[in-house]
Symmetry: C2
Subunit: 321 residues, 2 copies
């Protein structure tokens, strides 16, 4: 590891917020040496519990995250928040600033908030989020909350990799069917019907419970459905208790952890291969020539790929260590 | 190619809808021999024009697609529709059936509709969609419409690869800012404000135009913003004319085509190599052992990946043919 990375990792370990932010940025943008840094950082990970909070735009995710975080801090825990923002094509960054989103926790000593854009993350959103979560874990955060809209497979993957998933619904947003459509129904450990002071809240609770009944048919422990009104703070303490209870009772499911880790390694590997492949075949114009041939229908993409990977194939298959 | 594939491709070429459906299913699920089949099918591609239609849930995408398709057919063109459905965790397939979505065109002789689930596509949604689009092209469709919610990078990639992108907005859905947030603003060739009989339609049109002004600042040909009411059919003819006008005037942008094809080949190649490496490491329990080591913090994911790709690395970097 270079001196720069070494210094930053050391400072981060000593609690420097500045070094923490810098490290995250450098790892996110895959600056040379990031893997070596992550190797060192990884040694300090494995303590934080990860919570995924997801729900449609306007469901009050940020306010709820904000409220929960305050309660965690009140109970003596330190919290890291990763807020995944839909990207703007204009700013090519996150659309909503951290400060706009989490009013009451910004500035609290034990809270660190990081926004991430959904697009353009080097190595993919899922990997980038996991990198940041690891760094926050190594930094000593007890709880890492990942807050996301949960639209698209990418974001669902991100949330899936946490220890506990809270899915938020609200009355009047096309019912719980939206949650099904988004594919987040099956990953929920807790359902929250937020804005429960609105008309129709009980109806949404019933809808969700019915759907859970259809799905579960007894094979899975029942998923709690809670009501909150995040702005007034109603129901937040109950939600908090439920979260802690569930985190404690499950502890870490080892099979689950192995599964996530395996997936992470495979995705990381695929990205690395993709980088190698792109670098290699962009180098000498071979790919460009092949593309032209295909466009003229003198060749096809499938044959091009086969001839490109032929030499690798034998190499991979013969490699018995 | 085996007899089975040969027979299906032949029958498809002769116009068998049954063979077409079967072929699509087999290629989608990557049944052995799919690449050889696609090599043959690819020779017949390159004639169809691809249109992407995207917009938030409830914006009337399906109705609009349905209406446009009817007009295409009326003008003597044959149409293939690929409807990308959010997946249901229960059915592990597409949530809404074709018949539910496209009322008036289902059963029309020149229309073929295929639903695709957003999740679980072997080789990724983007690749699967492109495979199906190619098969429809080879089958002889003049127009292939890809209809999708456009949430998540995957779906945006799918739409980006078409010849023309129609983005639908509706009044009262949180304004055009949602389009920006979803990252689809910049890929629109035509904006449609649907449900234009609703209050606020003109306001949405203005919002979009303002945003286009900010973005374009003169460097790009102006993007048309049209109003429709898909249910009554208002404005559909105008939209249709605009689509055909733009498709004709641009013809095929060769640089764009080369770019898409290059990307497709690279993605295909990455997937193939990743499959090889995965298979190699799953074979003798090497990966499982590595995962266990990492869980015990005796190793880290980054070192595991480095050793996985080491043999590739030397091969790729040395292979100068």
């Amino acid at each position: 590891m270079t001196n720069k990375w070494n210094m930053l990792v050391d400072q981060m370990r000593q609690g420097s917020i500045r070094a923490l932010s810098k490290l995250i940025t450098m790892v996110e943008s895959r600056e040379p040496g990031w893997t070596d840094a992550m190797k060192v950082i990884f040694k300090d990970t494995g303590k934080a519990r990860m919570i995924g909070i997801t729900g449609p735009p306007g469901s009050g995710k940020s306010t709820l995250t904000d409220q929960i975080t305050r309660l965690f801090v009140k109970r003596g825990m330190s919290v890291g928040i990763i807020a995944i923002d839909p990207s703007s094509p204009f700013s090519s960054g996150a659309l909503l600033g951290d400060r706009l989103r989490m009013k009451s926790t910004v500035g609290l000593e034990n809270v660190f908030i990081r926004s991430m854009a959904t697009r353009g993350a080097m190595g993919g959103l899922s990997q980038a989020t996991q990198d940041v979560a690891k760094i926050l874990d190594a930094f000593g955060k007890d709880i890492v909350i990942i807050e996301t809209v949960g639209a698209g497979q990418d974001e669902i993957d991100v949330v899936k990799a946490t220890d506990l998933v809270v899915v938020i619904c609200v009355p009047g947003q096309g019912d719980a069917i939206q949650a099904i459509k988004a594919g987040i129904m099956e990953i929920a450990d807790i359902f929250v019907v937020n804005k429960a002071d609105r008309e129709g809240a009980d109806h949404v609770v019933l809808d969700i419970k019915n759907m859970l009944d259809i799905r579960d048919s007894g094979y899975k422990p029942s998923v709690p459905v809670l009501k909150t009104a995040a702005i007034s703070g109603e129901g937040i303490e109950d939600l908090m208790d439920k979260i802690l209870e569930m985190l404690n009772s499950r502890q870490r499911d080892k099979t689950q952890q192995e599964k996530h880790l395996k997936e992470e390694i495979l995705v990381l590997m695929e990205r690395e291969i993709a980088c190698l492949v792109r670098a290699r075949w962009s180098r000498d114009g071979k790919l460009d020539a092949a593309v032209k041939e295909v466009l003229e229908r003198n060749n096809d993409p499938y044959s091009v790929v086969q001839s490109m990977i032929a030499p690798l194939k034998s190499k991979i298959e013969c490699d018995t260590e």
